[in-house]
């Protein structure tokens, strides 16, 4: 019988009622009294010199309150990058200034160089059309290898080249890996791209800046996954506003997927302009603006080599990647192809020698940063694709080849050659579970049935591992992070026993308002309805780092557990006093304190009331009130892992791929709310299938964004995907956080792209197209057809 409350239950989400009745409060739903509107004027060329901006006519347009350009921000800080990567020669990465408004040059289509503030949005747009901009287009550089060639156009004139860094990992392994590959009986090589994606949360970004001159206080409402991070970055590094004078609020946020982690120029502008024009300033991104201003994802070009012995035992792995940074370094851009990518190249396997080289490159394109999975999908894709190719070359079943190389359950904790230590896992168990839920043994019969209908059926299987629960501060500090990555929670017990929990994590679809109370209710033995979660407002919540990297429960949830433990400890002292008993004799269960071996007891509400009405209270020993805060810094990453299977049908006449079945067997450790976990996996799978079959952000050779709207960028629709079979019954709990949880938010997007591509290649191979060993994503009908007929 499934539980109906507490850990392991799937109560209906409490946030749903407001979302289903139109009562959600997203940033664009907020209008501040007296607000003005800003329209950003964005570059329509990828690279150009700003020779002059004539604002005269525009300033005379109706309703205009102010027009600002890069010159107004010349003395203002740039948008900072939060992670310093040191390259293989010991040099710091090249880090160009990222101005709030472009000054002197524009460097990508969409780069804002002017901003018009007016009484209405239409007036701001109308005035913007009257700006006379003299921008001389320069040759643009889009291709990463071309950007690194001698004599290339430079994105930033003040840098030595377009190379941000040349990173080697682990540099000491380089020679040994080269030798092992040289000497190996078999080496499988694969060159591939990881296509550039646009995150596309359905809510476009919005910012509303306010300034109260009476006290010098600023407020920013913004669509963020981490309001405290925005307050820190914008306040300390861009605008010079101390924390106590800056409140950042991220109310209901309509999806993030990484792209709402970062601090953006529009946020800084609206905050700054509120003071400059003396009015609140609101900006709402159009979808077209989102395509050219939200940080994009992926965009790697990779060569991977896997060395094996004759039995398919992995001996060494070498991978060379070019990673596109775009025109500027976004907040965490530098960490994605390095510490979130290189550290995962061991996958689920015992490969003893690994060397990863990453060249990060500036180009005249929109900045690239973390998108759901962030580095880990790129690692998983290349590894699981090369293993599939190797299996075919060696004539070993691809599942069997993986099994031969799995890290075994008795090998944990397992230190990989790429600097991380997996705490727990059972990769054979998730593969067994996959075989069951995907009905792998029934594939041949289904393939025959497809063939009878003239379709080519293929099966793709792969594994994945990810590093989540980001992250141990001392470790990431050594790796270049310019922030700590703990999180925080305050548990405020009110006089009548109800509870507000203020958390640093931010919920923008994850359902924290439902799941976090399940944990506290389980610990206290009280009804979940007595507990509410407060998030998203720096004036209400403790300093926490927000939600990304599947970290909310593993890190912030752990802080909440620790704070709740402090609450229980103090409440026990109060209860002991009320019952005139020794604290050591007080037991706590089901919301009731009792004295062991007696019939004495006091209820939760009696104790909480005593804390706030301390008439009969040990004031000499403890303070009144019942409120505790905990900061939790994890000891390690968490390592969710699993095995995925995809079955496709390829239409031999058109190359169109249809996903027929998709199964995901995950190990997330302990699970708080199975319904939410399954929903997270479903969504990740659709994004991964989207990457594999449909999505691709394309620039032409001049840096023009070809896919600038939903007319051109193919988002997955309901009829592009099947019902998914998902399972999370394999549970090897995390050993170093109090809940034993690993995180589930990114798995689907990490594990699914290789499954789809493996399946398509399998379908073509089975049809005798043995020359097809790889097709680059997205596997559009034209690409598949062309590969078949190459």
């Amino acid at each position: 019988m499934p539980k109906d409350s507490g850990i392991g239950a799937s109560p209906k989400r409490r946030e749903d009622v407001r979302f289903l009745t139109g009562k959600g409060k997203y940033t664009d739903d907020i209008n501040v009294h007296g607000q003005a509107y800003v329209h950003f004027v964005r570059s329509d060329v990828a690279h150009g010199t700003i020779n002059g901006l004539n604002l005269d006519r525009a300033k005379g347009m109706p309703g205009v309150l102010g027009i600002f350009t890069g010159a107004d921000f010349a003395e203002v800080g740039g948008i900072p990058c939060g992670w310093q990567v040191t390259d293989r020669h010991g040099e710091a990465m090249q880090e160009p200034k990222h101005p709030v408004l472009a000054h002197g040059k524009v460097r990508h289509v969409g780069d804002p160089y002017a901003a018009v503030v007016a009484e209405t949005l239409d007036q701001a747009r109308d005035a913007a059309a009257e700006i006379d901009a003299d921008i001389a287009e320069l040759p643009a550089v889009v291709d990463m290898k071309a950007a690194l060639a001698d004599g290339s156009v430079k994105v930033h004139d003040d840098l030595t080249s377009n190379l941000c860094y040349d990173w080697g990992f682990v540099e000491e392994n380089r020679e040994a890996v080269d030798q092992a590959i040289q000497a190996a009986p078999h080496v499988t090589t694969l060159e591939l791209t990881n296509n550039r994606l646009v995150a596309n949360p359905m809510e476009p970004r919005v910012a509303i800046g306010e300034y109260d001159g009476s006290g010098g206080d600023y407020t920013l409402h913004t669509t963020s996954q981490n309001p405290h991070v925005i307050r820190l970055l914008m306040g300390a590094f861009v605008l010079g506003i101390p924390e106590h004078k800056l409140r950042v609020v991220a109310p209901d946020v309509g999806g993030g997927f990484g792209t709402k982690i970062f601090h953006y120029a529009e946020e800084a502008f609206c905050t700054w302009a509120a003071k400059a024009v003396g009015r609140p300033v609101k900006w709402t991104s159009s979808r077209s603006e989102a395509f050219m201003s939200d940080a994009q994802g992926r965009d790697h070009v990779t060569k991977i080599e896997l060395a094996m012995d004759n039995d398919g035992k992995f001996l060494a792995l070498r991978t060379d990647t070019y990673a596109n940074m775009g025109a500027y370094l976004s907040t965490f851009a530098s960490s994605v192809p390095t510490w979130l990518h290189g550290t995962l190249m061991a996958g689920n396997y015992t490969t003893p020698l690994i060397y990863v080289n990453v060249k990060a490159v500036f180009t005249n394109t929109v900045p690239v940063d973390a998108y759901r999975g962030a580095g880990r999908p790129e690692a998983t894709f290349q590894l699981e694709r090369v293993i599939d190719k190797a299996a075919r070359e060696l004539g070993i079943d691809p599942v069997e080849l993986r099994r031969r190389n799995f890290i075994q359950p008795d090998q944990f904790p397992y230190a990989t050659p790429v600097a991380v230590e997996y705490d727990t896992g059972d990769y054979g168990a998730t593969m067994d579970k996959l075989a069951e839920i995907a009905d792998l043994s029934g594939f041949e019969a289904r393939a025959a049935e497809s063939q009878a209908r003239g379709k080519l059926r293929g099966l793709g299987v792969n594994c994945y591992i990810e590093a989540c629960g980001i992250a141990p501060s001392n470790l990431v500090g050594q790796l270049g992070a310019r922030a700590g990555l703990y999180d925080a929670a305050t548990v405020r017990v009110n006089a009548t026993g109800s509870i507000s929990v203020m958390v640093g994590a931010h919920s923008h679809g994850q359902g924290h308002e439902t799941t976090f109370p399940q944990v506290v209710a389980e610990m206290l033995g009280i009804d979940e309805g007595m507990i509410e979660i407060v998030h998203g407002d720096t004036s209400k919540i403790p300093f926490g780092m927000g939600t990304y990297g599947s970290r909310s429960l593993a890190v912030c949830g752990s802080a909440m557990v620790r704070a709740t433990e402090k609450i229980i400890n103090k409440a026990r002292k109060i209860a002991a006093h009320l019952m005139e008993a020794s604290e050591a004799d007080v037991e706590f269960a089901n919301g009731q304190f009792s004295v062991a071996g007696t019939d004495k007891s006091v209820a939760w509400g009696d104790v909480t009331l005593a804390a706030y009405v301390p008439h009969n209270y040990p004031l000499e020993d403890i303070e009144p009130g019942l409120e505790e805060t905990a900061f939790y810094d994890p000891a390690n990453f968490t390592y969710p892992a699993g095995a995925y299977a995809c079955e496709v049908e390829v239409d031999p006449d058109t190359g169109k791929v249809q996903i027929m079945r998709f199964a995901a067997a995950d190990d997330f450790g302990n699970v708080i709310n199975p319904m939410i976990v399954e929903g997270q996996v479903h969504g990740g799978l659709a994004q991964g299938i989207g990457q594999a079959l449909l999505e691709g952000c394309v620039y032409d050779e001049n840096g023009q964004l070809i896919t600038g709207s939903y007319m051109d960028y193919a988002m997955p629709r309901a009829d592009d995907v099947p019902f998914y079979a998902v399972d999370h019954s394999t549970q090897t709990p995390c050993t170093h956080n109090p809940l034993g949880v690993k995180g589930c938010g990114e798995a689907g997007a990490i594990g699914s792209p290789p499954a789809v591509v493996n399946a398509v290649v399998d379908a073509l191979q089975r049809a005798g197209k043995t020359h097809v060993t790889h097709i680059d994503m997205p596997l559009s009908p034209s690409r598949v057809w062309a590969a078949m007929h190459a």
Binding site: K12, R13, E15, D16, V17, R18, F19, L20, T21, G22, K23, G24, Y26, D28, D29, N31, D122, N200, P201, M202, E203, P204, D252, V253, G254, G255, F257, T284, S286, R287, S288, H508, G509, Q510, G511, M675, I676, E678, G679, H682, G683, G684, L685, A686, Q687, S709, Y710, M711, M715, P716, R717, A718, D719, V721, F723, Y724, G748
Partner: protein, 160 residues
Amino acid sequence: MVDISMEVNGKTVSGSVEGRTLLVQFLREDLRLTGTHVGCDTGQCGACVVHVDGKSVKACNMLAADADGAAVTTIEGMANADGSLGTVQAAFQEHHGLQCGFCTPGMVMTAAALLSENPNPTEAEIRAYLEGNICRCTGYHNIVKAIQAAAAQAQPMAAE
């Protein structure tokens, strides 16, 4: 400016709008019915779907002036008279058919339109009908399940 009047969620409303004002702008900014969302500028995403005279319409693709005299229903008008969730809304909650909630109003309005046209749709018919609504969170699995459940509940005789 154009003077317009229409019935929104059963109440008569009027306003004065520019000719270029979209229905979705009138609903959100003039009437402050912010449940109808704007997720794109090319009529693709479906976050702004409302019902105009009983037909589902993307409110970003219709001028407010063109809705003069019409009967408009938005997500704010979908609950039962007693304030409880309507059949489709309740099914979305029951089956976890929403995560961030941003596409949800449009999904619910589209689903309701589907069920009024086709009370007992197949899975394929549901997926095809949702072509004009994009969700980035759910992978559609639980949205389709919710609509199937709503259909079953609204049509208890359909299975017999």
